[in-house]
Symmetry: C3
Subunit: 356 residues, 3 copies
Amino acid sequence: MTDLNIDDILAEYDTSNITIATVCSHSSLQLFHGAKQEGFKTLGIAVGEERRRFYDAFPKAKPDEFLMVDNYQDILDLTSELQEKNAVIIPHGSFVEYLGADKFLSLNLPTFGNRNVLRWESDRNIERKWLESAGLTMPREVKNPKNIESPVIVKYHGAKGGRGFFIAKTYEEFQKRIQPKKPYTIQEFVMGTRYYLHYFYSPIQNNAYKLNKGSLQMLSIDRRDETTIDEVQRLGSIAELEEIGIHPTFVVTGNIPIVLRESLLPKVFKMGEQVVERSLDLFGGIIGSFCLETVVTENLEFKVFEISARIVAGTNPYVNGSPYSDLIEPGLSTGKRIAQEIKYAAKTDQLNEILS
Amino acid sequence: MTDLNIDDILAEYDTSNITIATVCSHSSLQLFHGAKQEGFKTLGIAVGEERRRFYDAFPKAKPDEFLMVDNYQDILDLTSELQEKNAVIIPHGSFVEYLGADKFLSLNLPTFGNRNVLRWESDRNIERKWLESAGLTMPREVKNPKNIESPVIVKYHGAKGGRGFFIAKTYEEFQKRIQPKKPYTIQEFVMGTRYYLHYFYSPIQNNAYKLNKGSLQMLSIDRRDETTIDEVQRLGSIAELEEIGIHPTFVVTGNIPIVLRESLLPKVFKMGEQVVERSLDLFGGIIGSFCLETVVTENLEFKVFEISARIVAGTNPYVNGSPYSDLIEPGLSTGKRIAQEIKYAAKTDQLNEILS
Amino acid sequence: MTDLNIDDILAEYDTSNITIATVCSHSSLQLFHGAKQEGFKTLGIAVGEERRRFYDAFPKAKPDEFLMVDNYQDILDLTSELQEKNAVIIPHGSFVEYLGADKFLSLNLPTFGNRNVLRWESDRNIERKWLESAGLTMPREVKNPKNIESPVIVKYHGAKGGRGFFIAKTYEEFQKRIQPKKPYTIQEFVMGTRYYLHYFYSPIQNNAYKLNKGSLQMLSIDRRDETTIDEVQRLGSIAELEEIGIHPTFVVTGNIPIVLRESLLPKVFKMGEQVVERSLDLFGGIIGSFCLETVVTENLEFKVFEISARIVAGTNPYVNGSPYSDLIEPGLSTGKRIAQEIKYAAKTDQLNEILS
C-alpha cells in the first residue's frame, strides 16, 4: 500500500516464524505480552540501558531479544538484519514520533496497518475532511477570534503535548492569552465527558460487526489523564490560576479505565463503521487498531475531536482483558488481538492485506 | 407478590428450560453473558436493527435470539409467546423506563425481583420514608428556599436525566436560577466523594452475610460519570460558567471502577441489612440486586441520596469480576449472580420467592 | 533487625505451619485472600462483631479464625498464644495506627518487613533526608510564609487524615486561613496528576529488576480518592467555597485504578531502586511492599511527596491482578506476593531476612 516493496519482502519471509518487533515504549508491554501469548518471537528496539532493564520485572512481557540502538533512526540501517528475523513492526504513537513521520513512511519493513493513514491524520484539515465526510461530528472551528461566543480551545501550530493549548471563554480572554506572531487554530470547546474508544478493524475476518468488507470490534474504552488540567481544580478555577500566572497544560500522563452507557454502543459502532468505510474509499482503509477521541455532550451526542490510527496507550489498562473484550474472549488485550490478526493472516496467506 | 398470576404462569413453566430475557440496553451485555455462563437460553428484546447488530461484536454476550419489536410496549402483546419460551425477565433501569412503570407492573411475565419495590422508589417522599425508617441518613430537605444556609441541589419535579438540576450556595443564587411556576424540591448538597454500592440480597441462600431471612452480598462499587458536571472544571468554576450562561448538567454517560476504604465496609453491610430488613416489613422485600447511591463525608459518614432497586449500569465495569466479587467467586458479575440465583431457585423449586 | 528476640521466636516456629495474621481493616481482604491462595492458615484480629461479620460475604478472603479483642493494644498480651500458632504479622497502615507506633515496635511477634523503617517515615524531616539523599525530588519546603510565591499546602503538625490541611496561593490567603499558635509546615503545592506507585522489594529473590542485593517489582498503581477535595469542583472553586466558610478536606475514602504513561516506567524503577539502596545503607532496608506517592508535572517529572513503607490500601483494586502484575503472574495481588515471599523464605530458611 506504500511505495515500498513490502510485498517482495514478505515473499521472502518465513511466515511460520515471524518476529513481532516494536520500540520499547508506549504500549510495548502489552504488545510483547500479546505476541508471546500467541506464540510469536518478540524483539524490542531500545535506546539506553534503562529502557531495557525494567522489562526484567515483567517476565510475561519481556521481549525475547533486544535491539539496542544509539538513536531510533538507526532502525533504518538495520532493516536487513530485521528482515532476516522475519520481523513485523507494530507501530505505536511513540514509534512514529521517535522515528519521524517521513522515516516511518520509508521504513523498509512490513508494518502492521496501513501506513497511508499517516497522511490523513497528521494534518488537522485533512483529518477533518475524512471524519466529517464520514458523517462524524467534530467540534466547530472558529476562523475569527472576534466570533468567539462560547468557550474555545486555542492550539498553536506544532505545539507539543498540549503545552501550548489554552481555553478561552470570551474574546477578551483570548486577547489576554494569545501570543503575538504564532499561528494558531481555534476550536469550539465541547463540554462533556471524554471517552476514548478503542476499535479494531479486520479486513480479513467476518466474525464481528460486519462491514462491506471485513468486520469491526470495540475492545475497550479509557479516559486520558492529563497533567495539569485534570487535577487543577484542587488549587482553583482556571481563571483564578491564570490571574496568578499559572496556565494549565494538557500533557498525557496515564489512563483510567471506564465503561460507557450501554445505550450509546450502537452509535459507537456506527461511528466506527463510517470511519472505516470512508477510509477504504479514501486510502485503502484504516487497518487494525484505531481510536476515536470523543466528548459526550449533555444531549448524549458524540463530538469527535481526534482520531488515532493505531494502538493507543489508552488500551494499557486492559493488558488482561476489558469489560468489552472479555465478551469476545476472556483476557483479550489489543496487543493480543493484533497478534491474532497477524497469525490468522499468516496462516491464510493474507499478510499483504494487513501489513504495509 | 403482585396482582398478577405469576405463580400460575410459573406452574406451567418447564423450569429446566428457562430463557433469560431483557431489553437490549443498560446492562444487557452483562446479563446475557452471565446467563449464558450459567447455561441459560437468552433472548434480547430490541427496537431497531442498530440495537441488534452490535451484539455481533460480542459473541459471549450475544443473545441466542432476538425479539424485534416496533416499540417496547409491544412486549405486552407478546407475553404468550414469551411464556412458551419459559421466559424470565430481568428488568433493568431502561427496561422499566422504556416500558413505563404502569405497564411494567402489569406485565404478565415472571420478572426477577419484587415489582412492588417500584412503588417505594419512584416517589421521593415514600423512598425517604423507607430509607430513613431503615436508619439510613439522607441529605436534608430544605422546605423554604429562604432557609438555604449551605449548598443545596434544586431538582424540578419530573426533570429527566438531571438536566433540570442546579446547585445553589445561597438564597441569592437560588433566586437567580429558579424558573417561575415550576414545582421543585430543595435538598442539602452533601459534599464528599460518591460511591455507588452494588448489593445482592438472596432470600433463599444463607452462604453470605446472614440476615433474619436469607443473606446479603456486596458485589462491586462504581462512581457514575456525569456530563457535563464531571469535566466542567476544565473550563471554570460553576459560578464562572453560570455567569456566561452555561449550566452544568448531571446526565450519566458512564461508570468508573473504584474501591472503598476497607474500614467502611462494616457500615456498608449494616446499611444494606437495614434496607433489606425494612423492605421485608414494608412490602415483601427488595429481592436480588440493588444499589445505594452514597456520598462519604469528611467525617467518613455515608449520606444516601438514592436507592436503585435492581441491577444498575454501575456494575458494567465488572463483567468479569470485581475486587469484591472475586473474593466470592473469580469472575463473578452481577449478571452472573442473578443467573445463579434463578438457577438455584429453579433447582430447589423456589422461583416464586425471587420472581414476581 | 529490632531489639526484640524475633530470631529466637522464629527458631521455635514450625515454619511449615505458619499462620498469617493481621488486623481486620485496610487491606486485610486482600492479605487473607493472598495468604489463602498460597496455602497459609489465616487469622484476623478484630474489635467488635461488625468487623468480623462482613467477612462472611467474602468466603475467599475470610480468615480461618478470628481473634476477637476489646481493643487492639490487647494484642500485646496475646503474643504467646499467637506464637503458638506460628503467627507472622503482616502490618498495614491501620495495624500500625490502631496499635500505636511504640507498641508496634515492641510487639514480640515476627512481622513482615523491617520495623526500623518506622523511625524513618514517621518524622517528615527524617523522611525527607532519606528520600532526598536517595536522589528523589520532593516538593520544596517554605520556611517563612512571607516567601510564598506560588501555591503551597499548609499542614498542621499531627493533623489527622488531612483534615487540617489547606492550600494557599499567596501570603494573604495564608494569613486568612492560618490558625494562631498551631505549629505547621509549609510545602510547595506541586501541580500535576497524582500516581501512587506500589513496589515490592525482595532481598532474597533475583528474578525481577535486579539491585545490588535482591530485586524490585512494581505491582500496580492507583490514585487516591479524597473527600471532599476530589469532588469539590461540583460546587465551586476552592476560593469561592472558602469565602462561604467551606474548607475542603483531604480524607482518603477509596482508590481508583490507573496506569502510567509507559515511557515513565524507567524513571519509576530508578526511583524505587534509589529508595531501596539508600534504605539498605541507612537502616537495613525497606523490605517487601512500599509505595511512593508522586505527582507528575507538566514536564513529566516526578515529585515524591511521601513514602509508605508497607502495603497501601491503593493495592485493593487489584485483588485479582493489575495491568502490571498480570505481566508477572496472572492474578497476582500484593497480598499474594507477600504470601509468596514468606513461603519462599520459609522454604529456603531465610525468614529472618524478611521478618523483624
